[in-house]
């Protein structure tokens, strides 16, 4: 009981802290207004370009089989569901690049330079401080683009197949699953960062994770054999984008949703444990 009553002020304090950190990042980002817009526009161009293979692949298959874009499927996935998966991928990537990557990358730098000590001295949870240190606000633009893409694809799917538009349950479960995906991404990232406490040069390990994440852009059915098992159970990339899509289209089984929530919780717990141990063994730059 005592613990619970202490939780509320703490939550309020951290909420305020998050607001402050966000504002600082936003101000820093808005200093360069044109840069903000240019970066955002660039992201949208990237989004369009990386959608091209999907479009061309479905068109080529449709042409080879004498079908149309809407009747063609690759490994059982129609074009519009695959486009929803791609939209989820872009949305997650925007969150990853805008809110998760920048902060956690700066930790690596701080460990190397020894300035992490200053963060550890502050009277707030160190993991919270380092995780919210920096945001890159222009990724709001590509997140919006991704959401528009998802909405468009769902609507087209509705027009093409007569499938019902997603109701409250579908929208809600898709939102929850997307949040789970973000948490998974965050947890895996934090695990990567923890490695920096033991091995100092790790910058390219972060690129390794970003490029592995690229596999999440296709529906999980295109992976066969060992890859499908790995991407569902070991490194849950397929879960991150395909499960929210299934939820949105109303074909997710309850056990799958439970599995996604369980992985997110498990990874979060694991990463928190590893972070605590890494911090405990951190001896700062001077010693």
């Amino acid at each position: 009981m005592g613990r619970l009553s202490g939780l509320r002020p703490a939550a309020r304090q951290y909420g305020r802290l998050l607001g402050l950190q966000l504002r600082v990042s936003l101000l820093a980002g808005m200093q360069y207004r044109w840069d903000f817009l240019a970066q955002g526009a660039m992201q949208l161009v990237w989004l369009g370009m990386s959608a091209l293979p999907l479009l061309i692949a479905y068109n080529a298959r449709a042409a080879a089989q004498g079908g149309t874009l809407t009747t063609t499927d690759i490994s059982g996935w129609g074009f519009y569901p695959a486009a929803v998966v791609f939209g989820c991928f872009c949305l997650l990537k925007a969150v990853l690049d805008g809110a998760v990557n920048p902060s956690l990358l700066s930790v690596i730098d701080q460990i190397r330079k020894g300035t992490l000590d200053f963060v550890l001295l502050k009277p707030a949870d160190a993991q919270f401080l380092v995780s919210t240190a920096r945001f890159e606000p222009w990724h709001v633009i590509d997140a919006a683009g991704a959401l528009a893409l998802i909405a468009l694809a769902v609507h087209r799917q509705h027009l093409a197949t007569g499938a019902a538009l997603p109701g409250g349950l579908q929208l809600g479960s898709a939102a929850v699953l997307l949040c789970c995906s973000v948490l998974m991404l965050y947890a895996v990232w934090l695990l990567v960062i923890c490695a920096a406490f033991y091995v100092v040069r790790i910058d390219n390990l972060s690129y390794l994770f970003s490029s592995l994440f690229d596999f999440a852009r296709w529906p999980r059915a295109v992976f066969r054999g060992a890859l499908q098992v790995v991407f569902t159970y070991v490194l849950p990339l397929a879960v991150m984008t395909s499960f929210p899509t299934d939820a949105l289209l109303g074909r997710l089984r309850p056990w799958q949703a439970a599995w996604a929530v369980a992985i997110a919780a498990g990874l979060l717990f694991l990463s928190r444990r590893v972070w605590r141990r890494a911090i405990a063994s951190y001896t700062s730059a001077s010693s």
Binding site: I56, A60, R61, N204, S211
Partner: protein, 291 residues
């Protein structure tokens, strides 16, 4: 900097000096690559994009054949494996080194040496290649032999053309990266330019898909740009596909391979000239705000 001062080596002497120093430069570069071998391995693992594409395209071709080349899963698998191999062997990221040297002023130290920094850059970029090849080739050849053995051409002329295309592909990569890095003489950050360039490269080099699957007008655009000669064309040579598209045809392939090689090396020559000219101009500017 470019005007010959008394006591400075004359061009011919300078060339002889560079040639003499080159083996040593290569040895230093290789030693450095060996020292940072884990980093290099991790960096190589980040090149997953061809595999990501391979997964999609081999699924898309399941039970059917795509495009004018009638590509099945096996053909597409072979295409992307060779793409990966080529990217690993001919990729160059000298841009970061060049722009960092210019911005931080370490270029000044490089200029004090008797060998031109440009020559040193080539040595630094070429030296790690044997190590990279040693790490990549066994895996790539193993995969090719088991997954795509029947897809590779057995025509000696086309294989020769492929081998000849490799240095050119490397050179185009290297020269364009130096050019982009040299923009640091004029602007603060070359990162934006780099990403724009990489975007064009990804689209028009055949990195995402064989170019013949593109809509026709995009193919026309890609013929004129340098990108396809760095990737799509050499890959097609090794597969024995005619470069302009169409089913495997050795005779047609040979002729088109020759044309492609010609365009490729013309690009190398133009880019090399551009690099040397702009390098001199840039140095004058560098000297102006350095000294």
């Amino acid at each position: 900097m470019s005007a010959p001062r008394p006591g400075a080596p004359r061009p011919l002497e300078k060339l002889a000096l560079s040639l003499k120093a080159y083996p040593t430069l290569l040895r230093i570069g290789l030693a450095e690559a060996v020292a940072y071998r884990t980093e290099m391995l991790v960096w190589m693992l980040t090149l997953t994009m061809p595999l990501v594409s391979m997964v999609l395209w081999s699924s898309a071709a399941q039970g059917t054949r795509l495009g004018p080349e009638r590509l099945g899963s096996a053909e597409l698998t072979a295409y992307f494996l060779i793409t990966l191999l080529l990217r690993l062997l001919t990729g160059s990221w000298v841009l970061w080194q060049v722009s960092e040297d210019i911005r931080s002023g370490t270029l000044g130290q490089r200029l004090l040496r008797p060998v031109s920094p440009l020559v040193v850059y080539t040595a630094e970029q070429l030296a790690p290649l044997p190590l990279r090849a040693a790490l990549v080739l066994p895996l790539a050849l193993g995969l090719l032999a088991t997954q795509a053995r029947s897809q590779l051409t057995s025509d000696p002329w086309l294989i020769t053309a492929f081998v000849l295309a490799l240095p050119g592909a490397w050179a185009i990569n290297f020269l364009t990266m130096v050019l982009l890095g040299m923009m640091a003489f004029y602007i603060d950050s070359a990162a934006g330019l780099f990403y724009a360039w990489m975007g064009l490269y990804t689209l028009f080099s055949g990195y995402l898909m064989p170019l013949s699957l593109f809509p026709l007008w995009l193919q026309k655009v890609s013929d004129v740009l340098p990108f396809r000669y760095m990737l799509d064309s050499p890959v097609k040579m090794l597969l024995g596909w005619p470069i302009a598209g169409g089913a495997r045809d050795t005779a047609l392939g040979r002729g088109q391979a020759l044309t492609s090689l010609g365009i490729e090396y013309a690009y190398v020559a133009v880019l090399a000239l551009l690099v040397v000219l702009l390098w001199r101009r840039g140095l004058r500017r560098f000297a102006a705000f350095g000294a």
